[in-house]
């Protein structure tokens, strides 16, 4: 078995162990989940180090035949595999996933004392909590490393219901509706994606064409090699276009693009911090990944053809997300809309179908994942002290929490694309691509750069600057939380995730070739070498 296989199964094994062990306490379950994540992380890094520098090659792939249907339909056979492997695109995404999962698990904690609404469900049911976190982790890792459409869907389904349970069981009071909304939206996206991808597999085998069909394959590497080269007679453009639009619809919902985004702010408003980190930092990046992997990878002509449409939606997302974020009064929904705005830049980059645009989109996926997770982590830490993230009730936090406030500022600066953070290098590449093909649209889009500074610095000013607000100072959290000398700043265990995530935001910003040399390979593969 390859590394990729174990990367995915490590959290899965952890999840099963958590389930099998009798009556586990909170810490024990957490340690098991953390171990699963750490093993994944180490293995991803091993794969990264051993990654060969050749484009469009899935290194270290492994495939197990799950089941086979001989003479499946029209005397062709169908083999369904469990296959995993990495290429230049999926490896950094898998690394990001394993990294954020570890930190989310590490940062997971329950309120020990009984609050107004009874015992914290995370404390009451730690096994269930960490089981679903580990399942979600395995699912997301599976999505990013799947080399078979069937495997991909299994993984996608796993993320769907494990996230659903995380939101519903462990979210805030009233998370029921949010969880349902999440399930319906993403469930629908999964169905649309199933139609599109199975359609592509059939199309590649020639079922829509005039020639006689060949054997169906669900293998992603094979499809990447064949679909875009398939002749018009074999796979008519009409079907490709239709399938692409279905795929695009799925991506839009999955990625929470306007106007299919309303599930995302609702989810983030109700889910707890580790769940928000998983959903905001990782799960929402699957849509963009799908667009790159299956859209750009298999139907490049269609991406090109519908480029203007995609770019228009990209710019709409940038501006809509930014304006909506400006109007938010709560940090959670602000971060949610900010991430929608960021993903608009991804859309613009992909629509350009240029090396800079695609690479910028890939950078932005990683950058937005890191920054969203970091922002959710930090605001979560602040909320655990103030009991609120309502900006009207916050103010002057720098006085009592200088380090948390400082890191919050760094995260905000990264989000608004300050140079030497990951945000900037992503934005400039994506916009180079955007301006290359859609100068006028991109010019409208760069207004988002101003708006991101407006909503983030406005929020920072309200939260950490200014005089310490008495409403906050006298709040219950201020009495209960905090360290020995009455300081409310980050505790040592809180430093670890904060510092690590910040470090990578800066590292990518200062030394972008860290990701660039992998993404560059993938871009070469996607555009054809030299393109």
């Amino acid at each position: 078995m390859s590394l990729a296989f174990w990367v995915v199964t490590a959290p899965l094994i952890a999840a099963l162990l958590i389930l099998l062990l009798p009556k586990v306490r909170f810490t024990a379950a957490k340690v098991l989940a953390l171990l699963g994540g750490l093993v994944s992380l180490v293995l991803v890094l091993a794969a990264w180090i051993g990654f060969p520098g050749t484009p469009s090659l899935f290194a270290d792939a492994s495939s197990v035949t799950w089941f086979s249907l001989p003479a499946f339909w029209q005397s062709t056979s169908l083999t369904v595999n469990l296959a995993f492997g990495f290429d230049g695109l999926s490896l950094p995404l898998a690394a990001l996933t394993a990294f954020v999962v570890c930190l989310a698990v590490f940062g997971a904690r329950g309120r020990a004392e009984e609050a107004g609404d009874g015992l914290d469900p995370r404390v009451a049911h730690p096994r269930s909590y960490f089981f679903w976190i580990s399942m979600a982790a395995a699912g997301i890792l599976g999505v990013f490393s799947a080399l078979d459409i069937f495997t991909f869907f299994v993984a996608l389904e796993v993320t769907l219901f494990s996230s659903f349970f995380l939101i519903q069981l462990f979210g805030k009071r009233g998370s029921n509706r949010a969880a349902t909304k999440f399930l319906i939206y993403r469930g629908f996206a999964t169905v649309a994606m199933l139609v599109a991808l199975v359609g592509i597999a059939y199309g590649a085998a020639g079922y829509f064409g005039s020639a006689s069909p060949t054997a169906i394959t669900f293998s992603i590497p094979q499809l990447l090699g064949t679909v875009s080269h398939a002749s018009a007679a074999q796979f008519p453009a009409y079907y490709r276009g239709a399938l692409f639009l279905v795929l695009l619809l799925a991506v839009f919902i999955e990625e929470a693009f306007v106007p299919f985004h309303t599930w995302l702010p609702t989810t983030h408003a109700y889910a707890d911090t580790p769940t928000n980190m998983l959903i905001g930092g990782l799960l929402t990046k699957t849509g963009a990944y799908v667009l790159l992997r299956f859209g750009v990878g298999m139907l490049p002509d269609q991406v090109h053809r519908y480029g203007t449409l995609i770019a228009v939606f990209g710019v709409i997302n940038i501006l809509y997300g930014a304006f909506a974020a400006w109007a938010q009064k709560n940090w959670r929904t602000l971060v949610a809309f900010g991430s929608i705005s960021h993903m608009g830049i991804v859309l613009l980059g992909i629509a350009s179908m240029t090396a800079a645009g695609l690479q910028g989109a890939m950078f932005m996926i990683i950058s937005s994942g890191l920054l969203t997770a970091l922002l959710f982590y930090l605001t979560g830490a602040i909320e655990s002290r103030t009991q609120t993230l309502d900006m009207a009730q916050l103010g002057g936090l720098s006085k009592r929490m200088p380090m948390l406030s400082g890191f919050l500022l760094v995260a905000a600066l990264g989000s608004l694309g300050l140079p030497l953070t990951s945000g900037f290098i992503s934005e400039i590449q994506a916009f180079i691509g955007g301006f290359d093909r859609f100068p006028a649209l991109s010019f409208v889009g760069v207004v988002g750069l101003i708006l991101s500074a407006v909503y983030l610095l406005y929020a920072i000013q309200k939260t950490t600057f200014g005089p310490l607000r008495t409403a906050v100072d006298g709040g219950p959290g201020f009495a209960a939380g905090g360290g020995r000398d009455g300081s409310l700043d980050a505790t040592p265990p809180e430093y670890l995730p904060t510092v690590l995530m910040t470090l990578f935001v800066l590292l990518i910003g200062i030394y972008p070739n860290l990701l660039g040399h992998l993404f560059g390979l993938s871009v070469q593969g996607l555009l054809g070498i030299g393109g």
Partner: protein, 645 residues
């Protein structure tokens, strides 16, 4: 020597990292000592670099390495030493070292003293790295970094709501300009294939910029105007000038270093650095001249009536930066840079002297000062040197550079702009001597504050004296007496054979303007007249100010309220933006999400309807199943061409 120029920014970076690890409890002496010494070493190296470029046979030295590979192109970082850059290194390191020393006294016993020095060192590093950038991408990176440092330092006293607001405002307003610059840089990259100055210059002057079928001249004009947007924001030019006076909420050494001498001059530096591009886009150059002229006049009019000592000097900075822009715009490249240099010295001096006053009195209101001449003689006379330099009185530094600019403006055929400049020169002399008379002469207006006024010790005195010497003498770097030494130094960047720019462009840049004794006399007379009027109103204790205000009630109010620009922006842009944001939110909650809710309702109604199909009767089910099968077979036969085959 030139190949070691990277040491100049590196040392402040070392100081920054060192202080970061030293932590927030480090003793003040070590913190300030390390910072001052390392920056002073940088200054010495800068002097050697300055000298070496001058004697170097092949000026523009560039050292780069690949930072990021994008497709078939590379983004490079590195450093480049030109004559202009070398001059900037000297100015920045000198003023920085002095301000770092001054801050030891000014920030004494501040709770976050080490943090202040961290930020300042980070700023000095970023500013020097900006100056040495070999390409527009790296320039943009450090352009934003100095903006960040400005944000952090303006908001240094974060608990003050005004400081919090001012920090945010400074970042966002400059960000508006920076966004245009971002687009401009990308445009140039796409049109020329590189971020490098030299590549862009040769393409622009040769007319080979190409982008989406636009002509090379159009691309150059659009790109130059977009890049100029960044300069307008950073150098607080009209219409983005509104952030700089508010930025005075930061500690005064910050105002001296960042908001007078260095960062705000970066916009002027940028236009000077990208001069071949601007020269090949005459429309853009024309815009630069007019924006500069309007800013110089507008800001000097506002400065006439401000009550806060720092705000007067801040508007003065805006106005002087306008002069520099105007100089560059009318084609007087060397004079713009020359004024940048003299201004760095005398404006830093004025701010530090004002800081000395604020430190002594604990107020910034001019009408709580008075009579300080007796208690603070050193501050008084150094301030006077700065004021004379700013007012353009012979032979102080500002006289030479400002007069060069005014002369070149008229000689290049811009009589209106010359009139703007002359009027602004009158206002300048008036407002700065208004400050001088109000603060230093006459009787104290606030006895309690006057009581404990005192000089700030040697750490604050030494920088004042050194800067006063420069404010007095720096003009002589470029006079007929030394055959315009600075001009010749700066033109060497464009001398054959190593200039990337074309010959027409080089000719335009290297144009010189002869001295005009008549014009010089006019400017000095105007300056003296301004001082005289200020003396009439403010020298003797009394009601001079109120008399002046009553005499010119309407213009006074307009000037005092800064032409209501802030109010207009607040209403239009901030208010408009907020209204639009609220609209988007409303649309999001009630229309989009409302629709989803509606669909949800429909879904549940549909579910209730479908429940009726659950009859529990096998016959009904099999009937439906048959229908379904028939439909399927029909599709299979007509569409695919057979069920089994």
């Amino acid at each position: 020597m030139v190949q070691y120029a990277w040491l100049v920014p590196l040392l402040p970076l070392v100081a920054y990292v060192f202080l970061l690890f030293l932590g927030r409890k480090a003793p003040e002496g070590i913190v300030a000592g390390v910072s001052v010494v390392l920056t002073a070493i940088s200054f010495v190296i800068s002097l050697f670099v300055f000298q070496a470029v001058g004697s170097h046979p092949n000026g523009n030295d560039t050292y780069v390495f690949h930072w990021l590979t994008v497709g078939s192109r590379n983004f490079d970082v590195g450093f480049q030493v030109t004559h202009l850059n070398a001059l900037m290194l000297v100015i920045v390191t000198l003023v920085s070292a002095l301000v770092l020393l001054f801050s030891k006294g000014y920030m004494h016993r501040d709770e976050r003293f080490p943090v202040f020095y961290q930020y300042l060192n980070l700023f000095v590093f970023s500013m020097l790295a900006l100056v040495l950038s070999p390409n527009l991408l790296q320039l943009y990176i450090f352009w934003e970094m100095v903006g960040l440092c400005s944000y952090l330092l303006v908001g240094f006293w974060y608990f003050k709501p005004e400081a919090a607001l001012a920090a945010k405002k400074s970042f966002i307003v400059t960000r508006i300009g920076d966004t245009g610059m971002f687009a401009g840089i990308i445009l140039l990259f796409l049109a020329s294939g590189s971020f490098d100055y030299s590549t862009i210059f040769s393409a622009a002057t040769a007319g080979t910029l190409s982008f989406h079928g636009m002509s090379s001249g159009t691309v150059a004009t659009v790109a130059a105007l977009l890049i100029f947007m960044g300069a307008v924001g950073k150098s607080a030019q009209f219409p983005l000038h509104i952030w700089l006076p508010d930025a005075m909420e930061g500690p005064t050494p910050v105002s001296a270093l960042i908001h007078a001498a260095t960062m705000v001059a970066a916009g002027v530096y940028l236009v000077a650095r990208a001069y071949p591009l601007f020269v090949s886009a005459p429309a853009a150059l024309h815009t630069v001249a007019w924006i500069g002229g309007i800013t110089a006049l507008l800001a000097s009019l506002i400065a006439l009536t401000q009550r806060d000592i720092k705000r007067v000097i801040a508007y003065s900075t805006v106005s002087q930066l306008g002069y520099m822009m105007m100089a560059l715009g009318v084609g007087a490249y060397a004079y713009g840079v020359f004024h940048l240099m003299t201004h760095a010295f005398f404006k830093a001096l004025l701010f530090l002297a004002a800081g000395s006053v604020i430190h002594a009195l604990d107020t910034q209101d001019l009408f709580e000062m008075g009579g300080l001449r007796r208690k603070m003689p050193l501050t008084t006379y150094t301030f006077l040197a700065g004021a004379l330099a700013l007012a353009g009185i012979v032979p102080f530094a500002g006289f030479w550079s400002k007069d060069d600019i005014l002369g070149a403006t008229l000689a290049s055929g811009h009589p209106v702009l010359y009139a703007f400049g002359l009027l602004a020169a009158f206002c300048t002399a008036f407002y700065i001597f208004r400050v001088f008379f109000l603060a230093f002469t006459g009787q104290p207006r606030d006895e309690a504050k006057y009581e404990h006024a005192h000089e700030g010790g040697w750490v604050m005195a030494v920088p004042l004296v050194i800067l006063a010497a420069f404010a007095t003498l720096a003009g002589f770097f470029n006079t007929p007496l030394n055959h315009h030494g600075l001009e010749r130094y700066l033109f060497a960047d464009y001398a054959a054979p190593h200039s990337a720019a074309g010959t027409d462009v080089v000719a335009t840049i290297g144009q010189t303007y002869p001295e005009n004794i008549g014009l010089m006399a006019v400017s000095v007379a105007v300056g003296l007249f301004g001082i005289l009027v200020a003396a009439l109103f403010y020298w003797r204790p009394g009601k001079g100010a109120e008399r002046a205000a009553r005499m010119f009630s309407l213009p006074y109010q307009v000037s005092f309220h800064k032409f209501f620009v802030d109010e207009a922006y607040e209403w239009f842009f901030v208010g408009g933006g907020k209204r639009l944001a609220a609209l988007v939110r409303w649309f999001d909650v009630y229309v989009l999400d409302g629709l989803v809710q509606l669909l949800g309702r429909l879904g549940s109604v549909g579910g209730r309807l479908l429940r009726f199909s659950q009859t529990g009767q096998i016959q009904t089910y099999s009937a439906w199943a048959t229908v379904g099968l028939l439909v399927f077979v029909a599709i299979a036969v007509f569409r695919i061409g057979g069920v089994f085959g």
